[in-house]
């Protein structure tokens, strides 16, 4: 394995990280939106969201990705590997995020909400000033956990031809007939990213128990 090969895997890492960040940034608000639909018990929509979350949480990312990549063009929606990858990541992570957000919403103290109502805050303002800041804090560990899970499933994106860390490593392994070194490089790139997120989650949890104990 040459320095050029390592460089190729590093370029793949940029793709992996970019796609993960895009997936996380789009998936977070969509997950919140879905959770709000269920929390507010919007007639038909709440049921549909519950079904969507239940199915998506049971679907492996590979299967979802293959479905999107092959079936969308079949019904006349042209899609390239990168957009299929982003769509699959967003669909997958928004279902998990929805559950994290919803748990925080369900446990939100009702008296605060009613107090805000009684001082005449509008629904939008109530949500922005009273609910959101608090559920963000409660959801944070769960959301960070979901981010690390998302990054751990991104190697799947290579299956439809996204040139990420894994695809670069597979190609180099096939060219050099030495598959082990490129895979070890790939793991050496993945492990620190996931480790940082896992440590971040633990740190947030520890800080929150400390502030709770102080209060």
């Amino acid at each position: 394995m040459t320095a050029n090969d390592v460089l190729a895997i590093l370029q793949g890492a940029i793709v992996t990280v970019t796609l993960s960040v895009i997936g996380i940034l789009i998936g977070l608000p969509i997950g919140l939106g879905l959770a709000l639909l269920r929390w507010a018990n919007v007639p038909v929509a709440a049921k549909i969201v519950a079904l969507y979350v239940s199915i998506l949480r049971a679907t492996p990312l590979v299967t979802l990705l293959l479905l999107l990549f092959f079936a969308l063009p079949n019904i006349g929606v042209p899609i390239n590997p990168v957009s299929a990858a982003i769509l699959a990541l967003v669909m997958n992570t928004s279902a998990f995020n929805c559950e994290v957000w919803r748990a925080a919403l369900v446990n939100f103290p009702k008296d605060q909400y009613e107090a805000a109502q009684s001082v005449g805050m509008s629904a939008g303002l109530r949500f922005r000033r009273i609910v959101l800041p608090q559920i963000v804090r409660v959801s944070l560990p769960g959301l960070v956990n979901e981010m690390s899970l998302l990054i751990k499933v991104t190697p799947v994106l290579a299956v439809v031809g996204v040139v990420d860390i894994t695809r670069a490593a597979v190609r180099i392994g096939a060219e050099t007939y030495e598959p082990l070194p490129p895979f070890l490089v790939a793991i050496a790139l993945y492990a620190p990213i996931v480790f940082v997120l896992v440590s971040l989650q633990r740190w947030i949890e520890r800080r929150q128990t400390l502030t709770e104990a102080a209060a």
Binding site: P155, V156, A169
Partner: protein, 218 residues
Amino acid sequence: MIHDFGIVWSERALLLSGLANTAILSVISAVAALLLGFILTPALMAKHRAVLWVARGLVDGMRCVPFLLFAYIVYYGFPSFGVRLDNWTSGLAALTIYNAAYMAEILRGAWTAQPREPIEAGIAFGFSNIVLFRRIVLPPLLLAAGPVIGNQMIQIIKDSAFLTIIALPELTHAASSIQSRHYVPFAAFITAVFLYWGLCLVIEAGVSSIDRLAAARR
């Protein structure tokens, strides 16, 4: 569209064997991972510094590695050490070893949350170590860890889909081959999605019955 599902129906034998293989893979590796986890858990709570650090490093390291890369290493990388496994053996080994790390962590969490009193009472009654573990420690431990173990089983089912890349004939692989043979991508993959969903609903039903059992014991 109906016609496409007709094609999938005509290939149901392939799809069902894929479903069966996914179920077999998941159950065997879940049981094996749980047993391995039981062996690893005491090491995670060891007083001996070196043992603790090795176990911690192993478990935390495994949890930072994507499963697909780990499966690639077992299948394509191990031959470099002279270990050549077929796709079934390497798939099972990868699923088992990878998830054993998660199981060990789950069991450790449940174990440390257990109250000390019943164990001390058991010791006072003169239970031997094995009987103490089997009758006093294990039942509440499994009941407490049940839901999280169930979650991990769903994770194992989903991880097993990754093994399609090493040509293991599981559910996603079956759907892929139906789609490539007849070009019915939507029908083939959506059927697979619903079969995965069915598997997970079965596990969730199992978990809630364990929950009811645990509640009845309380």
